[in-house]
Amino acid sequence: MLAAMVDMMINLLIFLLTLYGTDPIDVRGSAELQLASSASHDPVKYAVSVVVSQKAVEVDGVPVVLLREENGALRFPDGDALGGFTQALAQRRDEAVAAAAKRGEDAIPDMSIQCDRRVPWEVLGPLLTQAGDAGFGQFRFVVHGEEP
């Protein structure tokens, strides 16, 4: 009599497995990373991943800049705030260009940015500028989208 239950569980397992296979990005929502909502329904594509949360800036999952809060506003740390970010970006750019060259392509790498909706422009702007200087072409902001 357990056959019906096994059938149901296998169906549930297949459904969950399909959820894992659809997005090329890994979005881990948390109190520090709440994505903005948008009317966009452009599908997410694979690119070098930058996460800007209320706590830190991560490049491909590695924290490179720890942000601090000052008088209720988010700030970069003192000193060479973006040194680690620039270095990590340069490394990822070289890897992306080398991978494209192996495939016989001459591509400018893109960047996928998961940014917390409350992050102000004074934090996000310099990161985009550094990324542009490092040779990244397009910035693709990951958002909660709508059904096409």
């Binding site: 497995l17 452009d42 909706r117 992050v119 397009q138 709508e146």
Partner: protein, 162 residues
């Protein structure tokens, strides 16, 4: 002979024990439910504006949208002059989704109709403007007019850390 065959057929088949399989699948489902993401994700493309970049062919609109604490300020080239038009929010300071997006669209539609080939817009946010307000602005700029988005190429100016 017949009696022997009948005796072989009457052997009991052991019942398959599914309990360990159920245990394993239950644990796997719990693990996957904890890590599952049920939201639908999308992306919005943008570029970094560069001084001295590739100039557009033909007459350009030179559209700039400033996102300030008290609303939008839209400017564009009209012949040799630049026209500036404020689009204030109804309630100040502006909420991220209360920036007068409808008024901005109403201002942009005639401009797009005058310059149908123009796709570029530079968005200049004030320092304290949150990312959520920028997404709402980009959505308004990229809203379709006919079959294509109004201004698909959203660019941001260079910014330095403070």
């Amino acid at each position: 002979m017949r009696r022997a065959a009948r005796q072989r057929l009457s052997v009991d088949v052991p019942e398959l024990n599914l309990v360990p399989l159920l245990d394993m699948v239950s644990l796997l489902i719990q693990l996957m439910l904890i890590n599952a993401r049920f939201g639908l994700f999308a992306e919005i493309g943008s570029f970094a504006a560069r001084p001295g970049g590739e100039p557009a062919a033909g007459p350009t609109l030179g559209l700039v949208v400033r996102v300030n604490q008290d609303g939008y300020e839209v400017s564009w080239a009209d012949g040799d002059e630049r026209v500036h038009k404020p689009v204030p929010c109804a309630v100040k300071p502006c909420a991220p989704d209360g920036y007068g997006q409808e008024a901005l669209r109403a201002l942009l539609v005639p401009l797009k109709q005058r310059f149908p080939d123009e796709t570029r817009v530079v968005v200049v946010p004030a320092a304290s403007v949150p990312f959520e307000a920028l997404v709402a602005t980009m959505d308004t700029l990229r809203q379709p007019l006919g079959t294509a988005p109004m201004f698909a190429e959203v660019m941001f100016p260079p910014a330095l850390p403070r």
